[in-house]
Every structure is written in C-alpha cells, then in structure tokens.
Symmetry: C2
Subunit: 652 residues, 2 copies
C-alpha cells in the first residue's frame, strides 16, 4: 500500500531559528565571494538568511568595494578545515565548501552569543561524526520518543523539506553523517540495498550532501539470502562475495553521497558470520572488500552477546562479551572497517564503566556509539543532559599506553543514536534538543565544555535573557546526576520495566534471558565482577583492573556494577550502602522538584508554548521520579526491613 | 480493506468425528420419524451421519414397519426437555426440535461409550448456557491461545462452514448460546449493533440457530456517541434511550435468533453509566428496556473495579470491588438483566475463593462466568483441566440460606470465555478440548462428575483403548493441582508476567496499578483481608466470614489469599509456610514430568499427529514449569535466605 500523499507536521527550526541581534557589527552588511560548490553555495544562502533574521540586510558585493564585509574564500579540496580571520573591521571565512558551511554557522551562532569577532581556526578531530537513526520502513522508530520517522512513511523512504532542515541542523553543529534506517533491518528496509528505492534514496542523499552530510544505510548480513535468493550468506562463499560486490557497484554508482553500511550482525537474533562459523572479522572484511572500490566504509557493531542466557547460569557475564568476542581479532579488520562500540560494556545505562574493548584495538579502527535517544535515561519525559557523561567517556584514560591513552585519543569516529522524530520540537522534550546540538559540538571537538555547550544552546534556543540562560544551564547540568539518584542505584543497571525500559521494576530482568541480574537477597546485592567473580575487571589495563577489583578503590558510583556487597557496607562518608541508596532516592526526587520549580519561575520569560510543553514534561518526570523513589526504596525496605535513618516515608 | 477470499485452515471435528462401534444395537438400522422444525431436521441428519460413521447403515422407515428402530418424536414448543425411552428393542427420542438434537447427540455419545440403551430424561438446569468469545473484528482474539478468530476476518464478521461445525460441537454437549465478539468493543465491532454487517450476522445467526444456539453480541455502552452521533450516552437521557430503542428494533427485526447483549461497562477503561453519575442498575435497565420488546436480555458484567489504583494505597482492596458496587443494588435490576459474575472476586486465577457477590443477589438474576481460555492457567501450553475447579465453585455453599444455598442453586445461567480459535484442533492444546466439552456438560447439569466427563471426552476423542482412557483421565484430573503447585502459591495470585500473563514474575504486578499485591518482605507475605485488614472476609455470610477470617480455619489452599503471614507459620502438617511452598514447587514440577512420561507411554496407541502435538505441549509445559519452580523458589530464598529442608537446588 502506497500513501497518496505524505504530510509531515509543522516543525520548529530549533537553534536555526535565528533571533534578532542588537548592534550587529558593521561587516554583517556586506558579503564578498561567490562560492562555486553546492556546499559553498549553501553556506552563502545560510549566511544571507541568517543575517537577515538577525536584523541585517547584507548586500552581496564585489571584492573591491570599500567598507567592512564578510569574505567567503572557497578553497579547493573537500576537507573540513575552517578558518575565520579578522581583517580590520572585516571577517574572512576560508575553507572548502564544507568548511565554509561550518564557518558560516559558527559565525552566526557566535554573533547570537554576542561575540563581535568570533575568530576560529579549526578542524574536526574525527572524519566521521554521525547520527544513527533507528527508523523502520513503516515509519515507526525503535526507542524513539519524539514521534514518527521523517525518513520513512508507509513502508518506504520519502523525501520532504524536513530532511533538508535536518541536514542544516546537523551541519550547523558539525555533524557530517547520518544512517537513516534501523540497525534491525526488516521488511522493506532490506530493499534499500538493492535499489528498489533508488530514486528516493538519491533525493535524500543529494539533499544531505548539500550540507556535507553523508548518507549511510543499515544492511542485513543475510541480504544475499533475503534479497539475492542465494542459499547462504557465508562471507567466504564466492557467490556471496560476488553478490555483495555487484550489489554495491550498482548502489554506489547511483547514490554518489553514500558513505557505507552500518551492520548489526550476530546480535539479538540478527544474522551474522557466526552462523557460518566465520569470525566477525571475516564477516566485516567481506563487506569491506565489496564497498572498498567506491571509497565505502563498514561500521560494524560490537554489540554481540548471548541474549538467550539462562538466569541460573552464573558463569556467563554479559559485560565480558564485547572484549571476549572482539579483542582477540585486533588487527584482523580491513582499514575501511570501523568497529562501533557502545560507550559502556552493557547497554546505555545511566551509569556504566567505559567499555574495556576500547583499550584493546591498537590496530583496528574504532568508534564510540553514544545514545542520545533516552532509552534508559527517561525517554525524553525526563530531562537528562548527557554531555557530561559523554565527556567522562571521552576523557577516560584506558591506561594501555603512557600517553594519548584516552578514549578520545583512541577512536577514529563518533556516533550517537538519534533522539529525533517528527514531533514539532524534533525531540519530544524541548530540553532534549541540547543533547542533539551538544553531541554535534562534542563530535567536532571532544574537549568541548558541556557547560558552555548548554549555555550556548540555551541562548540560541531561548534568547539572551540571562535568567533563562542560567536556569536552563543549571537544570541541564544537574539533570543527569538527579536522574541517576532517583533511578538505578550505583551502576547496577537494568531495574527498569522490561521491554519498554521506562520506569522502575527492580526484579523485571532478574529471571530473564538478557544477562542482566542483581541477585539481591535480604543481606546482599550485586554481581561480583572482580577476579573472584566473573573476572570482568581483568579486561581493563592493569591499573584500572586493580582499581575496579578493589571494593575500597572502586569509584562509588560504580560500586554495584563491579561488586556484590552487603547492605551495611560502609561508604566513604560513613553511611551504609543502603542508607546511601535511600538518601539518593529521596534527594533525587527533591532535586527534580527543585528543577521543576526553577522552570516554573521562567513563566512569562519564555515562549508560552515552549514553557507549557516543558512544564508538562516536568509533571511527567515528577510522577515517574516519585515512582522510582518509592519502588526502589520499598523494594529494598521489604528485602531488608531496615528503616530509613531519617524516618522518611517508605511504603510497605 | 476487504479480503477477496476468506480461507480457513483445515480443522478436526473433535468428538464429533464418530468412530466405528462394534456390535451396534439392532435399532440403529432403522429410523422412524420426520421432524418438521429446522432443529429437528438437523437432529435427523446428525443421527443418520453419526450412525453411518459408527458402522450402521440406517434406513428411514414408516412407523408401521417391523423390527427395532429409533423413533424421533418431535413435540411442540421450544423447550429443551429431552426423553430417551427404551421400548422393547427400540428406542424413542422425544422432545422439541432442540430436544431431539440433544437426544440424538446423547444417544450417539453413549453408543460410542458402549451403552446399548442409554435411556435419559433430562432438562437443562439453566436456560442460558453459553460461550463468550473475546474475538476482535480484525480477527485477533484477546487472551486467545488457539489461533485467530473464525467469526471475524479483515475487520468484519464472516460466515464459513467452520461456524456450522462449531454450532454442532456446542449442541452436542448442551450449549445454547454464543457471544461472538470481545467485551472490549472497538473499531468495526462497534458497528455490529447498527446493521453494517447485517447480512453476515444474519447468516451466522441462522446457522447457529439451526443447532439451537442463540447469537449474542457485545456492545459498547457509549454506542449512542460512537455510532449515533449523540453528545452523551447518559442512560437517563431521553434521546439516548430512544436511540437504543430504535437501534434494537432494527437489529432484532433483522436477526431473528439474536438473544441480547453482553456489556462490559465502567470496567478497565470501558465507558459506562458511572461516567454520568448513574448507577449500574440505571445503565443496565436502560438497555434492558430497549431489548425487552424483542424478548432480549442484557448480560451485565460485574467486573467493575479501580484499575488505576496507586500501589501505595493500602485502603483499597480490589477483591471487595464487586460486592461494594453491586450488592447494594440487589433488586433494582429488570427481570431481563442477568449480572455476569466471574467465579472469583478478582480475575480467573488458578485459586480464588468464590465471589461473595453471588450470595448477595436475592432479587437479581445472576450468572457465573468461568474462563476456559487458559489466561492464567497455562495458556493452552500447560494442560489444566478446569472442571474440578468449576464444580468446586458450583457446589460452594454461600451460607445465606438454610438450604438451596449453593452457587449452582443461586444462579440462573452460566457462561465461559471460550478457548477456541482457528487452530486445526480448535484449542491449541489437544487436551484443552476437554474443557470445552466438559463445560458444556456441566452447564447442562451442574452436578455432572468431572472424572466421568474426562473419561467420556477421552473415549469420544481418542477411542475406547482403556490404557488411553485411564492415562488421559488421570492426566486431566491431576493437572489443575499440578499447575497450582508449581505456579502461584496458596491463592496469592498474580505472580505472572504483566501483560501477557504467561510465566512467573513474582514482583511483576507489585508496584503497578491493578490492585494485586503481595507486599512480601523478608519475614512476611500477603495482604490481610480479615476484619483487621481490608475487611473483605466480611462480604461473606457470617459462617464463611468467620472461617476465612481465622488463620487456623481458613482452607490452606487459600491461606495467602486471605492472610498476611510469616514464612515460619506452621501449616497443619507441621511444615512451615515457606517449606510448604518449596515442596509444592519441587513436587509440582516432578508431577508434571510424570504426566509427560505418562503421555509418552501412549506412543503407538494414538494418532501420531495428536500424540506429537501433545508431546510438544508437554515439552513447553516442562520448560515453563521449571521456570515457575525456580523463580518462585529463588525469589523466596533470596528474600528469606532460609534453605530448603531437603537440600534441593535453589538458584541464587
């Protein structure tokens, strides 16, 4: 069934809805330079329309005309370097077409922030900075909390102006790649590979490309069977290899801006090389060889674990799986394969240690996968600004080398699972826009400051009212810690409702097949992952392994990730483990109430629609935070019958 | 979208697949009598085809011909009385057309059982003996475990030969009513009321009617809004009342065999009179007045409770809801209203006390609703023969009157939620056919013996091999107790996975809104429902109230339904409560293994397809029973840290 007409709802332009700026510098009145590339031309258009929205009426001038101006100098090549220089009262933006785009957006953003001469010389650290969409062909979005897909409708990809604006948003914060379909590739999404939707893909790809954004698609490893009619998808089978080569030749030749494939193989029921007793490297390399002639790359997910574990089995530790599967394969992957590794060893929980696999790939390209769609972090009903967590991960010292050993220095690309959908505000919760914008800035410069990003995002989104900026920045910066306090305690993870992952269910995953257990009794809680337990700590470099293995030295926020402990274990501040958890849960709720009150105090300062939408989300958050507080506390109280020292209400 | 063609899968005729019978009596060779009614003619057809299948070649003769014969004597009227007399070597079946049907099926069944002269004089105790289908217009079945609907396909009702065979199956075991659509009335099912599917309904109704089965439909209380375009569904609003009258006039005049409506109002989000501050009686009576001119009846469900309860609220007890809502209304309902009351006060758990509401309706018609679709009793992956439970309920003395105080004597109709679907064997698990057949026999005669029913069903289904009969009867008779032992302990209920209700999740409903809690701590478990607790016990007659309120006198199998108790509470046999639960769970699994072995021993005796299907179900049952055993035991062990006295394996 094919829709007659695709209607997408009205939508906001988010931070690209430039606001008037008082006393713009004189140079904003004149623009010199006529870029030749599509990206350069887009940069010029953005500059003109942005300045107009800010209150200037820029003229396009010849290079000899007098007076301050913005000069766009388009350089050859296709690199992403950008330079913004001040020359007297004028500014020059120099770069390739893509560089000009980044430069123009930088200038516009910083003019909005009140900087008259935002000089800048920058190159992105990573050549691939992308968003992964878990959009299905039917328009639904797996783990999407902001409406339906704007890439797919009624079983097929569709082009709309919204995609153009999405590309603009990406470019404006430094992102350059976009995988448009879910890693779980089903039904019509399979056919993206074989050109059934070539026309639509080409149109989308071209539009993204104008803003320097490459198109990626997720493909199924068993496509030779599903689409090619072959009896096998064995990566060493000559027919299979030929099928992939032929298929890639046709696809890449018709979609010029296609960068490659994202593959979830041998993971949660997806097919993969293990079905044929081949290694992950053999699987990935076969695809890498097929895309290589066209400059394509393979992003190969490392989310491989036993998802049909028996909960009675205490030998298997899901946290170990990534390293166990991939560390021995270091050096066996082609140069155009990048291993995509979730930031933690399990799955996007509110608190996990950094994935130890990131330290084991000396001779293999790797990238970190973050998740800005808030699957386990409040599903965009709770505010949870994730940039501080991402910085923790990027700054983490893996300890395998004497220097340049941080995650940021070890990887060659970054991506995040997108939090967007067709809601008016793109992200469901207006404040979740900060994660989208912030991930972009961090992907360009992994040393970017989350507080500064929050402040900038607030000003771009809500204007320069200092009360708003301070309030929003404060809410954002506190939000992750608050969510963590009232939700899952001390890194133990997985106390959420099975399936939808929203709200508390302390035993929800306890007797299930997902390898995520706490095994709480009335005296103890947690799984021991030190050398006396599952040995997971030994996957880290020696210093880290020793630190995590030691109950005393383990960072307290990860205590229950690594250790099984009695409830009366004494924390560093003298409180018992149990009392710490009670305290966190009461405090977390109180702090979310304070955030909500702080937002309420912005009444009258903000656009009433934005104000009301976020107010409604805070109402939802408070309801859910109370449920988290009371369920976790009651559950622990029923187990232990140890009351809260401060006598606060715990329900029997 | 309308399907071009409806294809139903092949299906078995179950116990109507008459098998050859050795040494049939001489009278089976001749049939005298030509019934005039549709039902009488159907009886004659069934008799001829049944006897043929058994090995006779009956001739239809004039009444004067010599020799033994079966004489069908059709009486006037439409009652359901049937008489089978022996006259010398001949047999006479006398009754109305419907009576003849019941008589013919009785004769055929008993010939198969080996009785040469099954004389019988019987009338059904209840005029309404029906099955409720929770079939949706889209063909799905709520809580259906045997495939898709055979009443609905692609959004509309459809007629097929399977419905005729279904009517034959119903008549053959004494059932006379069938509500074809789900009590949760949505989408196209709404329109059954307004004649959109008049043609299809008429066809279905006519076919059912030929076998003495009345058609019922479920309707939405807010139909005047949804279908009539009125602004309200207030039962006292004149326009609303007129709309229902007009609608009923049109519907009943076009569907002659329509008996009335089943209504789920003010229940789990369904609209009802409470929305307009009207009583349940005002709502039901308004509909009763609308159907009354056409002899119609209203079956009004009493499943009214607060399904958005806060788990922190310990005042509200869902078990009380039926009595609290309906007992005060006794005597206020019209004569053509029948209150439909689930057998227990909560919701079809494997063990509940009898609903106390059944004792409070001196001046109101009531019916018991059983559930033969195994929502909470193993979903037709586990064998669970429910007739012993149904007999317990029917035999239960409510204690409000000195005599005739059993449930069976207090009600005026019975129904069960059907366990059928379009699977080849109708019920998913072949052995679940015994619940369908058995409910029919029990609905005709509430004093029927479950063991005898099981034996009869086995012979009709699998032939007269005595080993099969004994094995199947033994399995069926033990099955409920076995399921109870390894699943939810001692009447506490609800330890199933939320939503789908299959498999264990001890805390699954604990912090949710459904009013179903155990509040287990490491020392105690259960909700106290005595006078010192929620007071639910006081809804029973004084003797029962005192018995249930007393921990010592409360039947042990219901101990945790009524009481909150410490794990070291001593049961009558000296075991602790906890040890009793451990023992039950280990024994329940072992006993299910023994059932499975007993089935395996039938290899070679049974039709190989039947044998293999049931064997596969036992495999599923054992897997699930082990999960129940281990999860319940582990959960209790983790709470209490008290080991099993016999040292059997409990997983941490």
């Amino acid at each position: 069934m094919q829709p007659k007409e695709v209607i997408f709802m009205d939508y906001s332009l988010l931070w690209l809805d430039w606001k008037p700026v008082d006393s713009l510098p004189e140079y904003t009145k004149r623009i010199i330079g006529l870029p030749a590339t599509r990206q350069g031309k887009a940069a010029l258009r953005e500059l003109i329309s942005g300045l107009k929205a800010m209150g200037s009426e820029p003229e396009q001038c010849g290079s000899r005309e007098p007076g301050p101006a913005i000069r766009l100098t388009e350089c050859r090549g296709n690199d992403e370097k950008v330079t913004i220089r001040r020359r007297g009262e004028s500014m020059e933006i120099a770069g390739s077409g893509r560089g000009l785009l980044y430069g123009v957006f930088h200038l516009l953003r910083h003019l909005t922030l009140g900087e008259a001469y935002p000089v800048w010389e920058s190159s992105p650290v990573y050549p691939i900075r992308m968003l992964d969409h878990w959009d299905n062909a039917d328009g639904s979005i797996e783990r999407g909390y902001a409406g339906r897909s704007f890439f797919f409708y009624g079983g097929r990809p569709v082009y709309s102006e919204r995609i153009r604006d999405y590309a603009r948003l990406m470019a404006s914060c430094g992102l350059n790649g976009c995988c448009i379909n879910n890693v779980n590739v089903h039904e019509n999404a399979l056919k993206l590979l074989t050109g059934s939707y070539k026309r639509e893909l080409k149109r989308i790809s071209s539009c993204l490309g104008e803003y320097g954004v490459s198109l990626w698609i997720s493909v199924s490893f068993s496509s030779p069977i599903e689409l090619g009619g072959l009896p096998t998808a064995d990566p060493l089978d000559p027919e299979v290899r030929q099928w992939w080569k032929d298929t890639c030749r046709q696809l890449f030749s018709s979609i010029p801006n296609l960068a490659g494939f994202l593959v979830k193989a041998d993971s949660e029921g997806r097919p993969g090389p293990h079905s044929y007793n081949r290694s992950q490297a053999e699987g990935a390399n076969m695809l890498a060889d097929a895309v290589s002639p066209f400059g394509g790359k393979i992003l190969w997910r490392c989310f491989v674990y036993n998802c049909t574990q028996d909960w009675r089995d205490t030998k298997t530790d899901r946290a170990r799986a990534q390293c166990d599967h991939f560390a021995p394969l270091d050096g066996q992957f082609r140069d155009n394969v990048i291993l995509q590794i979730k930031n933690g060893p399990v799955d996007f929980q509110i608190r996990e240690p950094v994935s130890p696999l990131l330290g084991h790939l000396e001779h293999t390209n790797s990238m970190v996968e973050f998740q800005i769609t808030q699957e386990y972090t409040g599903q965009q009903q709770h505010v949870c600004y994730l940039l501080p967590m991402f910085r923790e991960v990027l700054d983490f010292h893996l300890g395998h080398r004497p220097r340049q050993d941080t995650v940021a220095e070890s990887i060659s690309a970054v991506c995040a699972v997108s939090n967007t959908g067709d809601n008016y505000n793109w992200t469901g919760h207006d404040l979740a826009g900060a994660n989208l914008f912030g991930f972009g800035l961090l992907s360009w410069d992994p040393s970017a400051n989350p507080t500064e990003i929050a402040r900038e995002w607030s000003i771009l989104s809500f204007g320069r009212d200092r009360v708003i900026t301070e309030t929003v920045t404060d809410i954002l910066m506190k939000s992750r810690s608050i969510y963590e306090k009232y939700s899952v305690p001390l890194g133990i993870g997985w106390m959420c409702v099975p399936g939808n992952h929203y709200g508390p269910s302390p035993d929800g995953y306890e007797y299930d097949r997902w390898g995520t257990y706490h095994k709480a009794t009335h005296t103890e809680i947690g799984v021991e992952r030190g050398p006396g337990g599952t040995g997971f700590t030994q996957q880290y470099s020696p210093g880290l392994a020793a630190m995590y293995a030691s109950v005393e030295n383990c960072p307290e926020e990860l205590l229950l990730f690594f250790h099984r402990l009695p409830y009366d274990y004494r924390m560093k501040d003298g409180r018992t483990l149990l009392q710490r958890i009670y305290d966190d849960h009461f405090e977390g709720f109180e702090e979310s109430l304070a955030m909500s009150d702080a937002w309420d105090a912005l009444a009258g300062r903000l656009d009433p629609d934005v104000f009301a939408r976020v107010q409604e989300r805070f109402r939802m958050q408070l309801h859910s935070a109370a449920q988290w507080r009371d369920v976790i506390n009651s559950w622990l109280y029923r187990l232990t019958l140890i009351p809260d020292e401060k006598g606060r209400k715990i329900y029997l």
